[in-house]
Amino acid sequence: MIAGLAPTREVLANGVTVLAKRTSTTPAVTLIANLRAGSVHDPAELPGVAHFISRTIDRGTERYSADELAEQLDSRGVTLTASVTRHTLSLACTCLVEDLDDVLGLVAEVVMRPSFPVVEVDRRRGEIVTLIRQDEDNPAAVAVETLMSMLYGSHPYGRRARGTRASVELIDRQMLQRFHAAHCVPQGLALAVVGDIDPARAVDAARTIFGAWKGGAAVDVTGMSVASASGRQRRVVSMMNKSQTDIAYGFATITRQDASYYAYSLMNNILGQYSLGGRLGDSIREQQGMAYYVSSSLDANLMPGPLVIRAGVSPANVTKAVASIDTELQKLVDAGPTEQELQESKQYLIGSMPRTLETNMGIATYLQTVEFFGLGLDYDIQMPDLLRAVTPEHVHNAARRAIDPANATVVVAGPFEGPLS
């Protein structure tokens, strides 16, 4: 019998889920509050609302002004980080154990009763526009955003989380309040509390603070189909003021719930992760010396997420690097992985679990992933067997299903004028 992490999970009467785990490395506690309020919920014509919420939710509540909140957190050495992904709005921080009750109270105030003062909304608008302007000058960001918009079109995954300069100018306090009321609700909240604190006490504290919170049902956007690419799509975004060129190359793939997920995950590890960038790193960085970075990532999500290959290369090597990506992908499609590669990637992914679960932030992030995808409280114990069950044929099939250079979407951003093969 393997002990495993064995976290505590309790669902309060109003639907708030509390996840808790005691650790004793440092006299500190990490909190992550995840709300199902990500950028997929942005109105199609107004991208950026969820991100705007993440920049303003902690800038004033019914009880505290922005300055009072800042003072309360700063005086305890706490940085509250708000961030938004496609499906979640997340508030995370670490505090000393002695400050837990106070800090949990402040986080709850921010989650439940933000007031979005107009002056703060206008101030943060300037910050967001500046962030968008910085992205526009960043070839890596431009390459990935362009790739996502080409892969997903009007599907929510194709939109920029930060929105556009035009949409951000239109977002106002009422829109933020409406979004908050609709999506920041008890049923959509999962709170992870990890650190030197008794789990039962963490659950009690959460019940005291969140127990009376009311709200409608949580909704999430799922099941929207993604059109599959037909033919190779290419785009060059010339940024002649830059030194290095960024390549983003990808496909839309599967959901996290797909039965083939573990085969895909191992395929991704072999292709562009294992050691320094898998097969791609070996060919493009180690053998050919063309790039400082090259790797692949798989984001299987509630809806079919992307497999993205990224590389930063000198403009003179763009054509050669793209051809090398094509070659490596085709090899994996044609012949699948070797037994040894698969074995090594399995050992790596299984063996890295203790490292993933070493810190409070690592455990809290893991608990939120398990909760979000419904993987089960014993997922850390189940995961090794799920990976061990994958055969070379499974990975080969995943490669054949996911990858096809003839139908790849390829974006190049940087000091490069094309053409792109």
């Binding site: 320094l276 180690e286 000198s314 992914l349 810190t359």
Partner: protein, 436 residues
């Protein structure tokens, strides 16, 4: 429940031993997870480079991942990964370091790799050539980032003589002309037990660790490092200014002041002053700068970000062996002129210089730093990093005393340091002005 670990910031938890060949070994048992971490540190960084060879330390770091006498290049991959492990390395101005973290049963493999790396790397000429383009690609990736470009130019302007003036990545022409023999000579000179500190932290016993260390390292010969003392930077006699005019979307300001090294009397008072101005970051280069500083109530945040002039305002004081820079970096909000941002930034540094800080600000800064020192010691990787890092800039024994040193800082010290260090005559103002 795992047993409570000894407090990470306690010198008595650390076992120190120096082998006959000069290798300093630091061991700390932390039993909270079934993991072990190894960091091997060398006292060599871009500070040790001369014109024509800038960037050699960093390039050498890259070459030291490419196979050794007893580890063929194609077999490096997998040694640590089999144990779910992570490995990496970095080079900065005072140090070069290599690390592995994996399950504890990988300990012997990790130590074997580091012993091989110390004296037996191959430097195959073809590998050196292939890595040249990788390094130039890394340099070009850095140039894509206007803030990094500004940082590089500002440092080169603030220093006229000391070798901290050139970037760790090196200047492009040096990277184009350096030879395999240049790389190998640098490697052989600095990579030796008498110039290294080996740190092991994790779910291991001291005796077991030392047995493995002796097995792998005791046979290695020391080297004649011939360390030369650095040129002392002459006092700056007036404000320096530099501008980058380049196509871009966003304007950036960076102001640098000459700062003490980590052993200087002014270091901890200046760290407190930085916390009041731009918020607490802690002192762990591996961990702290990945989390936003605690800064919403800090003076520059209030004066710049909360007035809408800037979208970000940060400060940086790094623990270095010799006097380096204290820098303030500001991103102008879209549409706001850099002149206004500069005026508001310098008004705050002048205010601090003229009037100092308040007792309330002192207390808050101490609280913030105390919390950050706890947060940045949350993993064996971070604890081992700090022990080794401080040994390369001063002594590892400084690390367990960080919290006490902050506690001992007085308001008089902070105000004296503000008056002296923030003088307009010793500052360098850098501007990135985008051409649209």
């Amino acid at each position: 429940m795992p047993a409570l670990a000894p407090p990470p910031q306690s010198a008595s938890a650390v076992h120190e031993e120096v082998l006959d060949n000069g290798l300093r070994v630091l061991v700390q048992s932390v039993h909270t997870a079934p993991l072990a971490t190894v960091w091997c540190w060398y006292r060599v960084g871009s500070r040790d480079e001369i014109p024509g060879l800038t960037g050699v330390s960093h390039w050498v770091e890259h070459m030291n991942f490419k196979g050794t006498a007893n580890i063929p290049r194609d077999q490096i991959k997998g040694i640590i990964e089999k144990y779910g492990g992570y490995w990496n390395g970095y080079t900065w101005i005072d140090q070069t370091t290599y690390t592995e973290t994996a399950t504890r049963d990988a300990l012997d493999h990790m130590l074997f790799i580091e012993a091989e790396r110390m004296r037996s790397c191959l430097y195959d000429p073809a590998d050196c050539e292939s890595e040249r383009t990788v390094i130039i690609s890394e340099l070009q990736g850095g140039e894509n980032d206007p803030e990094q470009l500004l940082d590089q130019e500002l440092t080169a302007t603030a220093f006229r003589a000391h070798s901290y003036r050139h970037p760790t990545i090196g200047w492009l022409s040096d990277l184009q002309t350096m030879t395999r023999d240049d790389l190998y000579a640098h490697y052989r000179r600095f990579y030796a037990p008498n110039n290294a500190t080996l740190v092991i932290v994790g779910d291991v016993s001291r005796a077991d660790v030392m047995r493995h260390v002796v097995k792998h390292f005791a046979r290695l010969e020391p080297s004649d490092v011939r360390r030369r003392s650095s040129t002392i930077e002459p006092e700056q006699l007036g404000e320096r200014r530099m501008t980058i005019s380049k196509e871009g979307t966003t304007a950036y300001l960076k102001v640098g002041f000459h700062a003490p090294g980590v052993t200087g009397d002014d270091f901890f008072p200046l760290l407190v002053l930085d916390t009041v101005l731009t918020g607490a970051k802690g002192l762990n280069l591996w961990a702290s700068f990945r989390t936003q500083p605690t800064q919403r109530s800090a003076r520059l945040y209030q004066a710049l970000v909360n007035t809408g002039l800037a979208s970000a305002a940060n400060g940086a004081l790094m623990p270095t062996a010799e006097p380096f820079l204290y820098t303030i970096s500001v991103t102008a909000t879209d549409g706001v002129s850099l002149d206004r941002v500069e005026a508001a930034t310098l008004a705050e540094t002048e205010r601090a210089r003229a009037h100092g800080i308040t007792p309330q600000e002192l207390q808050k800064a101490k609280n913030q730093l105390r919390a950050r020192f706890v947060f940045e010691n949350d993993s064996i990787t971070n604890i081992a990093h700090q022990l080794g890092f401080f040994e390369t800039v001063a002594s590892w024994t400084l690390y367990p005393t960080l919290a006490q040193r902050i506690e001992a800082v007085t308001i008089e010290e902070v105000n004296r340091v503000a008056a002296h260090r923030l003088k307009p005559t010793s500052r360098t103002v850098g501007r990135f002005e985008p051409i649209q």
